[in-house]
């Protein structure tokens, strides 16, 4: 285990049992989450990014199977070999998760104050630490730019969507986690609120130095918040690098295609174009490289042999047979 990494994912395989058969949602994934950094995970809907996020905390769906040999090493401990009690201690205290549309995860029948106290009591043992953490509540609410006096006595329905979302973020920070895992944390919020919340995340990262793992389908959000990025496609990680490398010097044709297919309020419209074809059906995956049916660079080799994720420059990993072609042709964005 590398000291710099807070989480190391190794050979993670997550299958879902569905009516039509076995669907492999996460397929042999290796990923390092570096301590103190903001790592972003980009992928389109159905690529397995939420499954990966839930696996980080060993939260599985009833029809989901984590296969033998999968590892999520959290500071050296494999999360799949922990007992329920060990997991309880780890969750929220060491790693906190903010779900997609988290504003709906608040209990509608009790006040914000009550749910915050519940959270502390559920994950901490009795003692000094408990009252100390309770004392931090107002400070955390101020950090997410809320008025503690007003919010604490409110029920969720008395708050706007943006305020609920900020409350959930403050709750995630209650027990001083080392890593904050954010699964599409700004969906269902309007643009101005979204931008405000991204600023708050940047603020929290700067002030508390907390590690963040930020999952989104929107490249623009990742551009704003992330320092490192991983690109996921059909259950696999295709490219990992610093955010600048991914946006300005990507190697994988999918990454390049994804960046070019993003409409934006800036930039040359004639450079924007869609990726041809459709994402694969996970029940009938293509052979070889999963992206080959849509790839402009695909060769016979790509149809047959699956490329491995290899480090081609320091900290920049790519799973593509043809990455040197991509480099020479100056296709990179």
């Amino acid at each position: 285990m590398n000291e710099e990494n807070i989480i190391e994912v190794r050979n993670l395989i997550a299958d879902f049992e569905v009516k039509e058969g076995i669907l492999r949602s996460v397929d042999h994934v290796d990923l390092d989450i570096k301590k103190g950094k903001v790592t972003g995970l980009i992928g389109e809907s159905g690529c397995g990014k939420s499954t990966l996020v839930h696996a980080l905390l060993n939260l599985n769906a009833p029809n989901e199977y984590i296969r033998e040999g999968s590892q999520v090493n959290f500071k050296g401990r494999n999360i799949f070999s922990l007992s329920a009690e060990e997991l309880r201690r780890l969750r929220w205290r060491e790693a906190a998760l903010v779900f997609q549309a988290a504003q709906n995860s608040l209990n509608p029948t009790i006040t914000i104050k009550e749910q915050m106290l519940d959270t502390i009591e559920a994950h901490l043992d009795h003692g000094d630490a408990l009252s100390k953490k309770k004392g931090r509540i107002p400070k955390l609410l101020e950090m997410v730019r809320l008025e503690p006096e007003r919010v604490l006595k409110s029920f969720p329905h008395e708050l706007s969507g943006g305020m609920k979302q900020r409350t959930v973020i403050a709750m995630a920070l209650l027990l001083d986690p080392e890593i904050l895992i954010l699964d599409e944390p700004t969906t269902a919020l309007d643009m101005i609120t979204q931008s405000y919340i991204l600023d708050i995340f940047a603020d929290i990262h700067e002030k508390l130095g907390v590690t963040m793992f930020f999952v989104t389908h929107d490249l623009s959000l990742a551009a704003k918040l992330a320092e490192r990025l991983a690109i996921m496609y059909a259950g696999k990680i295709l490219e990992v690098g610093s955010v600048e490398e991914i946006f300005y010097k990507a190697y994988h044709p999918y990454t390049i295609g994804l960046i070019k297919s993003m409409p934006s309020i800036i930039g040359d419209l004639s450079q924007m174009k869609p990726i041809p074809g459709l994402p694969p059906n996970l029940l009938h995956k293509p052979s070889g490289c999963l992206f080959h049916p849509r790839c402009p660079e695909a060769t016979e080799e790509c149809k047959k042999v699956e490329p491995k994720l290899i480090e081609i420059e320091k900290g920049h990993l790519v799973a593509c047979h043809k990455y040197s072609n991509v480099k020479e042709k100056g296709m990179r964005s």
Partner: protein, 348 residues
């Protein structure tokens, strides 16, 4: 010379005659004794073959405007015109002729296609009902042509699929194909790509652009996403809505590059851009309040004043009117001459 001028004048007159128009339209809904003004005194024109983007955040009334254009909702006050005729004063015959000329494509492509009909059955129904095609062979040929046009390829394969077999992007193309069958002059597209995968979004917009260019169908593109509006409409016009009112209209590029209304400036400052250096530099315009007031209790005067960083006493007291700054750029702001210039940073 005089003849050329005359011709030009005539052409201008035809070009300047709106296809569809709202004149001082307001729409109030009643909810628990509260009168909610979803649309308040809105005037909008859509010209033949143009793309008008109607942009605003959720709850601003943009969908209601679409339904009013369509004749789906009767406004509380104001006139709704199509080719110069008030659609609520049309005779039965006139209405029957008008109705097919505006079509709609909804956000939820799954809910808008019948789940127990195949793509063929969905597209064949209107062809047969309106007797556009008479025989099975003719219908099949036409359905294939329609699918080809919206790039659902190969048509023969997809024709026999049910909606649940198709991805969001493909379903939306089928909806678009269906919308063109009766040769409409206007399609109301209400957030048509927000349910489509990121990498495929612009391919659906490309199909819409093609329908606009090749079939000369005008579009009212309703969205919260300025980036897709810019991609789809290119040189088209845009109207920005805020709590039931239009606050700024004009050419979309001009509006994005030189927004005048503080609300549009705030919106543009909030939109993330896919460029890490620019994105990290971008700062949200410092608003006085983050929360959107409710349409049930709209603020007095300018509806943006409680959030506006520049608001003065007059803004609280008087509602500003849309003023023409020239070049068809109109803004509803008392302080448009005074507030600091704001522009998007375009290069990192």
């Amino acid at each position: 010379m005089s003849q050329i001028l005359k011709c030009k004048g005539e052409r201008d007159e035809i070009m300047n005659r709106p296809l569809a128009e709202l004149k001082n339209v307001s729409m109030y809904f009643k909810k628990d004794k509260l009168k909610i003004g979803a649309v308040v005194d809105v005037s909008l024109k859509i010209f033949p073959g143009e793309i008008l983007s109607l942009v605003g955040e959720s709850g601003c009334g943009k969908t209601t405007v679409g339904k009013i254009f369509l004749g789906r909702l009767k406004p509380t006050s104001g006139d709704v015109l199509f080719e110069g005729k008030d659609i609520w004063k049309m005779s039965k015959q006139e209405y029957k002729k008008f109705r097919p000329l505006i079509q709609v494509v909804h956000q939820d492509s799954y809910a808008s296609l019948n789940p127990v009909r195949t793509v063929y059955q969905t597209l064949a129904a209107p062809l047969q009902f309106y007797k556009i095609t008479r025989t099975r062979e003719e219908t099949e040929k036409k359905v294939k042509e329609l699918l080809q046009m919206v790039e659902v390829i190969p048509p023969g394969y997809f024709m026999n699929k049910y909606p649940f077999h198709l991805s969001g992007g493909l379903r939306q193309r089928v909806s678009l194909a269906r919308a063109t069958i009766l040769k409409p002059k206007l399609i109301i597209a209400d957030e048509p790509v927000s349910g489509v995968d990121a990498s495929l979004r612009i391919s659906v917009l490309d199909v819409m652009r093609r329908l606009n260019k090749e079939l000369n169908i005008a579009f009212l593109y309703i969205t919260h996403d300025l980036a897709t509006a810019r991609y789809f409409s290119r040189k088209g016009r845009m109207a920005v809505m805020y709590i039931g009112q239009i606050v700024e209209t004009g050419g979309i590029n001009e509006l994005i590059e030189e927004p005048k209304h503080p609300y549009l400036q705030a919106l543009l400052s909030a939109i993330p851009v896919p460029d890490p250096k620019l994105a990290k530099k971008k700062r949200l315009l410092p608003l006085k309040s983050l929360d959107l007031p409710s349409a049930g209790h709209p603020p007095s005067g300018c509806r943006f004043h409680p959030r506006c960083p520049y608001a003065k006493e007059i803004c609280e007291r008087e509602a500003p009117e849309l003023k023409d700054l020239g070049n068809e750029h109109r803004v509803a702001c008392h302080l448009v001459e005074e507030i600091p210039k704001w522009a998007l940073e375009l290069k990192s």
